[in-house]
Amino acid sequence: MLLDPAFLAAQLLNSLQLAMLLFLLAIGLSVIFGLMNFLNLAHGTIYMLSAFIAYSVTQHLGSFWLALALAPLAGAAIGLALFVVLLRRVEASGHLVQVLVTVGVIYVGMDAVRMIYGDLPNDVPLPAVLSGTVDVFGLGYPAYRFFIIGIGLAVQLALYFALERTRLGAVVRAGVDDRATVETLGIDIGRVFRLVFAIGAYLAGLAGVISAPVFGVYPGMDVMIIVLVLIVVVVGGLGSFHGAILGSLLIGFADTFGKILLPNFAMMLIYCVMAAVLVIRPEGLIPSRRFRA
């Protein structure tokens, strides 16, 4: 059965789809950590809030595409506001205080959506044009999942160009490698932080919107995914774009094929993978220069 091309293709696509989603979340978290040394556990909260906003938009304005356009922007706005009002103040307080404040944000966010939206899980319906199946070796595969993969690839390309070809990208890369020197060059690092944080939040919001029709919209969805995202970040290598890509692919494939090939160990598998990677390469697979030994 494993060698059946239709089955293999389907699982391959499943892995890629999960990897794309994880990448969208991991890249923001990773660069924020690499650049600002800030462990933002509340990244998942932005993901969740954007998904809920997407739900509201589809409910009241009737269009998924409008939600796709608006919700990530809302996510970026919320993320930026969170940063400026709250998180910036604890940036220098060390990881523990950052854990405390971001867990506080997670708790507040969780009950906030319950207060506004109630306790029931909500649904964002698949956009009509993408609700069919595509023929893959004779079996139908959901068209929408191709869409997720497509968006993921588009974002990766866009980020690659931004990082490699723009000035801001150069500043970010330099800042992740050696922040102190960048500051001495007279660059307004505060403005760069805000921009990076906003873009990271935008991507988290994008992940929330595009995953909503498949993964649903409900309180606690951020807690469910944040551990997996942290694992991707750590395995891939902190602050590293290529690391995030590699990490998300590795975890996406490990999770999908692990569930099929080793069902009894499915729960443990990802943790074992991470522990194994860290024991062999303690800084992750492709760490940015600052974190290399």
Partner: protein
Amino acid sequence: MKMLRTVLGLIAAGSLAPAAWAQQPIKIGVLMPTSGVLAALATEQINGMNIALEEFGGAIAGRKVEMIVEDDEAKPNVGLTKARKLILSDRVDVLTGIVGSDVALAVRPFAEANRVPVVIANAGANALTGENCSPWMFRVSFSHAQLVSNFGAWLVKRGIRRVYALGADFVSPREMVEAFRKGFVAAGGTMVGEAFAPYGTTKDYGPYLSQARAANPDAIFAVFYGAEAILFVKQYQSFGMRDKHRLVTTMGLTPQMLRKAQGDAAAGILESLNYVPELDTPANKAFQAVYLKKYSALGAEFAVMGYDAMRFILEALKSLNGRTDDKAAIAAAIRKVSYEGPRGPMSIDPRNNALTQNIYMTETVNQGGQVVFRVLDTVPRVADPSEGCRMAR
């Protein structure tokens, strides 16, 4: 400050000298996961309890009946702490509610030691009326085995002979699948595979759906709850599998509260259930009318199980004329309760303190834009087949 007030309050509550019981209200403790992912379900169950309470006018033999609700967060240690509070501090006469089987198992020894009867309104693990049964614990909801033991044979009669099982990986779905498998195989069916998705992590069922499809079953027996149920049903539909491999299930996959989110993906599923709101009996119509008026919604299985739990307690107390000083008498009275309720005939099986109830074979159909149930067959008075209960009579 709050802590001091709380402590003082608890001291005051605990040191009230026991007055003559006739003047005191009857206290019923309700343990429910009122925060977290099960909150909506908890609310529905408590609504049902309120309806039962109102039916009795909120009092038994002149004594007011008080419900004290505590949040067990669906965690056994928290449930135990709150049970301690209800029993030791609030001095409840009876305990009810309990959604999580692990919470029920944790609370049981404590309730037993303090001689407080427990009437379970949900938790379905077989062990609770099996090897972990207790003369102080009753269950008026269902057991996993009870819900699906007749399903397999019924499906075989409809021409479904190959089934692949998919479920969330914890006790409840596993017990359902096992009970289903026993009945199905005994009736001549073949299980072509089973897989369980890790609980509480990512909700991508793509890998499992692809794998199930590869085994070419006639039907997929799926057991998921809550948000997972919504996602599974939608993802199942997105893979376009319905024509070749239809979906069959039991309680939890398409309850009323989730069907709006599932849309038309919830139609066309065969389900073995202990209740559907569409049951056409006078008792059920009356219940639905009251629920609709009070809560502007349809009262589904969780509401009715809450209703029945409270009703069993109140009927028992009524038969004792509201006396709560003899706890063993309350337990004995609960065991003897029987009535014709919204679900059908209700009675307790003295063998294991479990409920004997009708099981309905149903199908979900799309009716004017809404998905409703259509009852196809009724299996009357199904006893709880959980094994291993050794209760002294």
